[in-house]
């Protein structure tokens, strides 16, 4: 009889938990449940994921042990300063937890400090022993589970990682082909949208599995720099394809096969490269190497186009060339990873990293909420007589408020049922079963049986919350020690701590502003347009003008806002209560977010183009017209930043058509008067690209105005419970 993966994982966790308790009790260590917590938290689907999480937990515990002892030593006699610095430290950890890397490390750094401080605080002479015990027990739990997961039925991430890489590439290949078809006027936009959504999920999964595979698979670890580069290149490929897709609306009237004679072979080459990369990912040698391709332009036909059509074509060609460079770079990188050699030196398409520190307002608000929660819990501990759990209430509340600070969309009510069921179950075991046991034989069987049952019944990823609660509550309420005692008050106090904790979270969720999804969505929209407005205003900056540090910082801040806000809006969109808003459908909300993502790409491109030199005479002749256009766009953005719902598609369209018509005539007039040699091919390319991206921003605004039209925004603004 072969055991299922679910059974094997449950057996491993149960065995590790039992061994950790056995060692801890045999060594006479205090609080063995801390080892149990470590096992419960780090038992994940693959060995790599578990080892990663275990390493972050151990490192976080060691770092925060030092911090906790320093705080206790500095402020042993002053509880207010002690709490001030402890809450500021936890707030800092909460802020860092919201970043892209090492979230769990910062989470552990935050809550373990509170656990040690609250356990040791009232009696500081025990502080050092408590801190050391925490580090010991955590290390024991991590070590035991790591050994069990490595030695017994180890599951590496390699197979999942390879599968995820193949799936992601396959989806990107299909998306590229779909976009090529759409550009030619064929293809189904619905299919492309579905592929795009799939790509986003697969990209996230690939990133997560890469982190695990680096830990548990030697071959991946050896080439980890190349794999990380591959990951960032696939992200860049995603963004480049989306920017390319944004331009299709402006190309509708053009016969691209006439204007770009080698477009079909160019598209076939891109498709073939991605196919060969698929072969390499399946560990088969590529059948051919990528050929460098440039798009050829039919100068005669292009000359007959209007200037704005030339601009749209210039932008599209630029994106296709970048796609060509990027796919070549991806091919070379993958070739090197898989050992199939490189045909040409690796084309470098990597963007330099921006390492400036730019604060994220949403993460700052999350940190403030956590600090406020800690203070409320602490004040309740001091001033409310008979507070259930005592100092343990503060220790228990902090991990939850930190986790919710990074997931503000999640409702506290999600915790009600898991908390109630897990406390009830653990309470029943603690009161009725455990007093019957007299030796570790019975206790060990009980621990193994309970942990196995919880892990087996809650094995699916979507049941992770129930699993975590079940394990944590059993470990907490059982409170297994060598001098075991039983008291109903322990269960009652633990049960009572939860409603108080939920009340605390409900209060702080409304500070500094309520977290109703509709209001948050509108607020984020306003911020988005404020940042767009600022970035547009920087377009008039003279490239020769000295840029101060404050200017660079503000530029970076607003650029980051514009890049990240569509993603945040996407996270809030599914939580909008469309039942309470009958005139709003999830598809309409999605359309708004998609249009904002398009605007983000256009604004980023505009900022990238501003650095390119322009022909002097064109800049002089058209400066006033382009400035007028820019000011109109800024005026629109400013109006939208005050009221993001104040866009009218027809009005925007009419205004834009007027501007395009006027500029078309002006450009024609200027170029007709230009003498020979004043306007080189390079100048032309730069000029048309800049014109194209300016138009792109305006078209994206028209698109946004169209997406917000069908929604009844007044209902969104109404107050509700």
């Amino acid at each position: 009889m072969t055991l299922s993966t679910r059974s094997k994982e449950a057996i491993k966790t149960a065995l590790a938990m039992t061994i950790a308790y056995a060692i801890s009790l045999w060594m006479g260590w205090d609080k063995p449940y801390w080892a149990g917590f470590a096992v419960a938290v780090i038992s994940l689907a693959t060995t790599g994921q578990s080892l990663n999480k275990g390493a972050m937990r151990m490192l976080g515990t060691l770092v925060t042990t030092v911090i906790a002892l320093i705080l206790i030593a500095l402020f042993a006699q002053d509880r207010w300063l002690f709490m001030l610095f402890l809450s500021l430290y936890v707030g800092f950890c909460t802020y860092m937890m919201g970043g892209a890397k090492d979230q769990y490390f910062w989470h552990v750094c935050g809550f373990v400090c509170v656990v040690i401080c609250m356990a040791a605080g009232p009696d500081s002479k025990e502080a050092f022993e408590t801190a050391m015990m925490r580090a010991q027990e955590t290390g024991l739990g991590i070590l035991v589970y790591s050994l069990v997961s490595i030695l017994i039925w180890p599951i590496t991430s390699r197979a999942d990682f390879d599968a995820a890489a193949c799936e992601l590439l396959s989806t990107q290949k299909q998306l590229c082909r779909s976009y090529l078809d759409l550009m030619r006027g064929d293809g189904n936009p619905g299919d492309a949208q579905a592929l795009r959504a799939q790509e986003v999920q697969q990209q996230t999964r690939f990133g997560q599995l890469l982190d695990s595979a680096e830990t548990d698979t030697y071959e991946v670890r050896e080439m980890r720099q190349q794999w990380r580069r591959y990951r960032s290149q696939t992200e860049e490929l995603t963004e480049t394809m989306e920017r390319w897709h944004e331009s299709f609306a402006e190309l509708k009237a053009l016969d691209l096969s006439l204007l770009l004679p080698n477009l079909a072979p160019f598209g076939a080459e891109l498709d073939e490269r991605l196919a060969q990369m698929g072969r390499m990912l399946a560990n088969q040698a590529p059948e051919r190497q990528p050929a460098v391709m440039d798009l050829t332009l039919n100068a005669a036909e292009i000359g007959a186009l209007s200037h704005f059509h030339k601009a749209a074509l210039a932008v599209t060609c630029s994106r296709l060339q970048h796609l060509e460079l990027l796919t070549r770079s991806l091919f070379d990188n993958l070739s090197g990873i898989k050992g199939f050699g490189q045909s040409i030196p690796e084309a470098d398409s990597a963007r330099p990293l921006d390492v400036r520190f730019v604060p994220d307002p949403d993460r700052l608000v999350g940190a403030v909420r956590v600090i406020l929660s800690m203070w409320l819990a602490y004040l309740a501990l001091i001033y409310v007589n008979g507070m259930p759990g005592g100092a343990g209430f503060v220790s228990m509340a902090v991990p939850f408020v930190m986790a919710f600070a990074t997931m503000p969309q999640a409702s506290v009510s999600l915790l009600f049922v898991p908390a109630a069921v897990s406390v009830l179950f653990a309470g029943l075991v603690y009161i009725f079963v455990m007093p019957q046991l007299s030796s570790f034989m019975g206790l060990g069987l009980l621990i193994f049986g309970v942990i196995f049952a919880i892990c087996y019944l809650f094995a699916a990823p979507r049941q992770a919350l129930g699993r975590t609660f079940g394990l944590a509550m059993f470990v907490t309420i059982a409170s297994i020690t060598n001098e075991q005692t039983y008291s109903f008050l322990k269960v009652a106090n633990t049960a009572l701590m939860f409603p108080l904790m939920f009340l605390l979270m409900a209060i702080t969720a409304n500070v500094p502003f309520p977290l109703r999804p509709e209001r948050v969505f509108l607020r984020l929209l306003g911020r988005f347009f404020r940042s767009c407005d600022f970035l547009m205003s920087t377009m008039h900056w003279d490239p020769q003008r000295p840029v101060t540090r404050l200017d660079r910082w503000r530029d970076a801040f607003h650029a980051r806002e514009v890049s990240t806000l569509p993603r945040k809006l996407l996270a809030w969109a599914p939580h909008i209560d469309t039942k309470a808003l009958p005139s709003t459908s999830p598809q309409q909300v999605q359309a708004v977010v998609t249009s904002l993502q398009g605007l983000t790409y256009r604004v980023k491109e505009l900022l990238e183009e501003r650095g390119n030199p322009q022909a002097q005479f064109l800049a002089q002749e058209l400066q006033a017209d382009v400035r007028a256009w820019r000011l109109k766009v800024q005026e629109t953005l400013k109006r939208l930043s005050v009221d993001p719902t104040a866009g009218d598609r027809e009005a925007f369209r009419t205004k834009l058509d007027g501007i395009l018509g006027h500029l078309e005539a002006r450009i024609k007039g200027v170029l007709d008067q230009a003498s020979e040699g004043l306007f080189s091919d390079g100048d032309g390319e730069n000029f048309y690209r800049l014109l194209g991206v300016y138009r792109g921003v305006s078209e994206a605004l028209v698109n946004y105005a169209g997406s917000i039209g069908p929604i009844d925004w007044e209902q969104w603004r109404e107050e509700r419970f």
């Binding site: 109903f488 109404e718 107050e719």
Partner: protein
């Protein structure tokens, strides 16, 4: 005199019971107000919810559970 609730020999404070009932009643009231769209006239619904909880708790104390 305060009246504790005894459940299987475990004494539960009356304030706890009254506040639990008060919270449930406030939640039901909030839902009803949302449904008939009367909640749009409140300036700050979370504070209103808190006020409703306190009112219902006091009412339950006065009429049902003296503490």
């Amino acid at each position: 005199m305060p009246h504790e609730f005894a459940i299987g020999g475990v004494y539960v404070p009356p304030l706890l019971v009254a506040s639990v009932l008060g919270t449930i009643a406030a939640a039901v009231t909030a839902r009803l107000l949302n449904r008939v769209r009367l909640s749009r006239y409140f300036f700050y619904p979370p504070a209103v919810f808190l006020a409703l909880m306190i009112i219902y708790t006091v009412l339950f104390d006065t009429l049902l559970i003296p503490f």
